[in-house]
């Protein structure tokens, strides 16, 4: 009800504002500041720009009655619409979504390949988010995100991000530190490729080490996370804030997204990033060094086929650590990342008592270089408003080298993919991605080239 009252008030104000505008327009005549030639001046006596002002003229009762009727009519229309056609929610709600539709074609291969075809990318996500409690005093807001992804084979819609976030420290003053608490299913704070956005990861596919056939670091998990920063540098001239130290520590089930935990042990993920604490105009703006670590335990299984060792209480350690460096300062961007995994498993045995354990070390790295023409990644692009549906076109060629060794003890089993790509951002939430992947999978002696054309669009 209060919303209706507010809307009626707003409408009333708008109408009065409109009446103001009309009143202002009525009292003025268009005046051009164009200078006239001498001939024109002689020929025509220049009329005074504004002869009289009837600024203080009162409106008549009839005009006022007409305005009141208009407000009443709009109020009735709005009440009916609110009742019948307008969706409502108990708290603030933003509905958004990201979808990826792609065509994949294998252009050359020395072994038989899967057929070419159309598919989803990794996202067909619809997301609901908003504030459950907004703190105007210090910005200690409680917010939520609930999203569903329907692009994960076999195309069942599944929960994606499902979490609450609370700002423990104030969040309004850009010159002060922040600390947030996140509870629920979420991304893990490890590295760049597994968790950062398109400003640092231009390729359509996630790097191998971050994906399911690597260390699975991009997968979501259920848990809690504290993340924040220290020593922020703030350049008020550009409203640019960069904290010298960013940190995140999380505690997770370790069993992945949409799965219940199978043991009592929890995995710990931590990341620290050091940013160049400089002004906006500095050449070092956008330079970051990061380190991440993931440590935990999983149920002990045979390393061939993953059969669980019976008997209970058996666990295998799971450790990942990585370093990254990035320099993203439009128009150029560069990222390099390195990650190592150590996974314990059983070589043999059927029970805890007779299990023989071994550790597999895997290793992956990526190097990405990109350049962009256009304003897509400048904050001002999101700050510009025009009457038409304007968005700055941005062109972004890039190259990425992606290398993965699933077992460093065995030679000749690495995979390398070099991606030559081009992204075209042509609308506010839409881009076309063209990727050409040159792959060398040494384990199967496969050399294949693959072309991906993907539209990513959102609402």
């Amino acid at each position: 009800m209060s919303k209706i009252k507010f809307t009626v008030l707003l409408l009333g104000s708008l109408l009065i504002g409109n009446a103001n505008l009309q009143a202002a327009a009525k009292t003025s005549k268009h005046v051009s500041t164009e200078r006239k030639t001498e001939a024109e001046v002689v020929e025509k006596e220049p009329a005074p720009a504004i002869e009289t002002t009837d600024d203080d003229k009162l409106v008549t009762q009839r005009e006022l009655q007409g305005l009141n009727s208009e407000v009443a009519l709009l109020r009735d229309q709005l009440t009916r619409q609110l009742d019948r056609n307008i969706a409502n929610s108990a708290r603030s709600l933003t509905i958004s979504g990201i979808l990826q539709n792609r065509y994949t074609g294998v252009t050359s291969s020395n072994v038989p390949q899967a057929s070419n075809g159309f598919s989803f990318g990794s996202a067909a996500v619809v997301s609901f988010s908003g504030a459950l409690k907004k703190d105007y005093d210090e910005g200690r807001n409680l917010t939520y995100v609930f999203s569903l992804n329907g692009a994960i084979a076999p195309y069942n819609v599944q929960p994606n991000d499902v979490y609450l976030q609370y700002s423990i420290f104030q969040s309004l003053d850009p010159e002060k530190s922040t600390l947030n608490f996140v509870f629920g299913q979420q991304k893990k704070p490890f590295g760049l490729e597994p968790q950062v956005g398109e400003d640092k990861t231009p390729a359509a596919n996630t790097a191998i080490f971050a994906g399911g056939s690597g260390l699975n670091l991009a997968a979501r998990d259920f848990g809690i996370q504290f993340k924040g920063d220290f020593f922020p540098a703030y350049d008020a001239g550009y409203n640019y804030r960069v904290p010298f130290i960013e940190y995140a520590v999380g505690l997770y089930n370790g069993s992945g997204a949409n799965a219940t935990d199978t043991n009592k042990s929890k995995d710990v993920v931590a990341r620290i990033a050091l940013n160049a604490p400089v002004d906006y105009s500095s050449d070092f703006r956008g330079l970051t060094f990061g380190s991440s670590i993931y440590t935990g335990k999983k149920d002990l299984a045979l390393n061939n086929g993953g059969t669980l060792i019976t008997g209970g209480g058996g666990s295998a350690s799971r450790v990942r650590y990585g370093q990254d460096i990035s320099y993203v300062s439009s128009p150029i961007g560069f990222t390099a990342e390195y990650a190592v995994g150590r996974d314990e498993s059983a070589l043999s045995g059927t029970t805890i008592a007779n299990a023989v354990k071994s550790t597999t070390e895997s290793r992956g790295y990526t190097l990405t270089l990109f350049y962009q023409w256009g304003e897509q990644f400048l904050k001002l692009a999101r700050n510009e408003d025009r009457l038409d549906d304007w968005w700055p076109k941005t062109y972004q060629p890039f190259i990425r080298i992606d290398h993965w060794d699933p077992n460093t003890a065995i030679s000749g089993n690495e995979t390398s993919i070099v991606t030559y790509g081009f992204n075209l951002f042509f609308a506010q939430t839409t881009k076309l991605q063209l990727n050409y992947n040159v792959s060398n999978i040494r384990a199967t002696n496969t050399k294949a080239n693959q072309f991906i054309a993907q539209f990513q669009f959102g609402f």
Partner: protein, 343 residues
């Protein structure tokens, strides 16, 4: 043949360079301007809005075939700085504090024209607090928007009243959030421009305002140009300045007040408050664009203020930053050298 191929790219580059050097006019002139917070497609400053509304620049450069591009930015002064730094704007038309912060941060610009003296600042308090003076607000939570000219307006105003920032609990909120927070009772007071919808709704009262204070404590915006553009196109720069002077001359005349009100109301300002702000004001003083000693001193004071409040790290020479050559030439051309009083 092989030699020809080898040197072709170099020859091509050279040709492009020669053509570029030969161009004495740009294909377009790009303006970065902050928007009003109510109507984000319209310019914040009335002179700029008039220039846009009357298509004065388009008319000036029509015969040259030069296009005019406006970027109206919701992010206020900081967004204008970002636009100029990214090479996406040739001219910026914005408030004193972000002009100073941009220049102090290394933005290669020069100040070529002043505009608009003194938009008034109003301190609003929640109606139920029954606060009647600034001193009664001591220890209370008051919202300002940092990084904008409104921040300097507020600090200079309270300092003129014998108070300082430590006397209040300052909260950084955008204009819209500040209004919502005051209405919700989350803050006690708000430093606002002259548009005061919360007062109309009975939710807030005016505690103090700058109407009776001298213009020297109020903000003064400016037109800046990038060094590169001014160096490459000095005549075009002078003509742009001339157009802004013509607009300032137009709004400086009392007979044009109704048209000024029409333009600002269209930009989203409330007619009632605009009229109140302008009707008993000397428009000629308010829209005086001269780069006189008064303006130079104002910018020097803002530099000192920014340094004192640690908004900038080092001083720069305001006298070097201000370039009067374009405005002096344009004023002479228009015969307006003596129209405005020099201070």
């Amino acid at each position: 043949m092989k030699k020809w191929i080898k040197y072709f790219p170099l020859a091509l580059l050279f040709s492009i360079g020669v053509v570029a050097q030969a161009a004495d006019k740009p294909a377009e002139i790009r303006f970065s301007i902050p928007s009003t917070s109510f109507q984000t497609t319209n310019a914040f400053y009335p002179v700029a809005e008039l220039v846009i509304d009357h298509k004065l620049l388009e008319k000036e450069f029509a015969a040259d075939g030069i296009k005019i591009k406006y970027s109206i930015l919701k992010g206020a002064g900081p967004a204008v700085n970002e636009s100029l730094a990214a090479g996406l704007g040739d001219f910026g038309n914005y408030g004193d504090l972000p002009v100073i912060l941009g220049k102090a941060g290394g933005l290669p610009t020069k100040l070529v024209l002043g505009h608009e003296q003194g938009g008034n600042t109003f301190i609003l308090a929640r109606a139920e607090l029954h606060i009647n003076s600034l001193k009664d607000l001591k220890g209370k939570k008051i919202a300002i928007q940092k990084g904008t000219a409104g921040e300097t307006n507020f600090y200079r105003f309270i300092e003129a009243n014998g108070l300082n920032s430590k006397d209040f609990r300052i909260v950084n909120l955008s204009g819209a959030d500040g209004q919502a927070a005051l209405a919700a009772g989350s803050i006690d007071a708000l430093s606002s421009g002259y548009d005061r919808p919360l007062v109309d709704q009975g939710l807030a009262t005016v505690v103090a305002d700058t109407r009776k204070f001298p213009n020297s404590i109020k903000s003064r915006g400016a037109l800046v140009v990038t060094d590169a553009f001014a160096r490459k196109y000095p005549d075009i720069t002078k003509r742009v300045v001339k157009v802004f002077i013509e607009a300032a001359h137009f709004v400086s005349q009392d007979k044009n007040l109704p048209e000024l009100l029409r333009v600002t109301t269209k930009a989203g300002y409330k007619y009632k408050y605009q009229r109140e702000e302008l009707v008993n004001t000397s428009l000629k003083d308010k829209y005086n664009p001269l780069l006189d000693q008064d303006l130079v001193n104002h910018y020097k004071a803002i530099v000192d203020f920014s340094l004192q409040h640690k908004l900038i790290r080092s001083k720069f020479d305001v006298d070097q930053f201000v370039d009067k050559s374009y405005s002096e030439a344009a004023l002479k051309e228009l015969g307006l050298q003596h129209y405005w009083d020099k201070h």
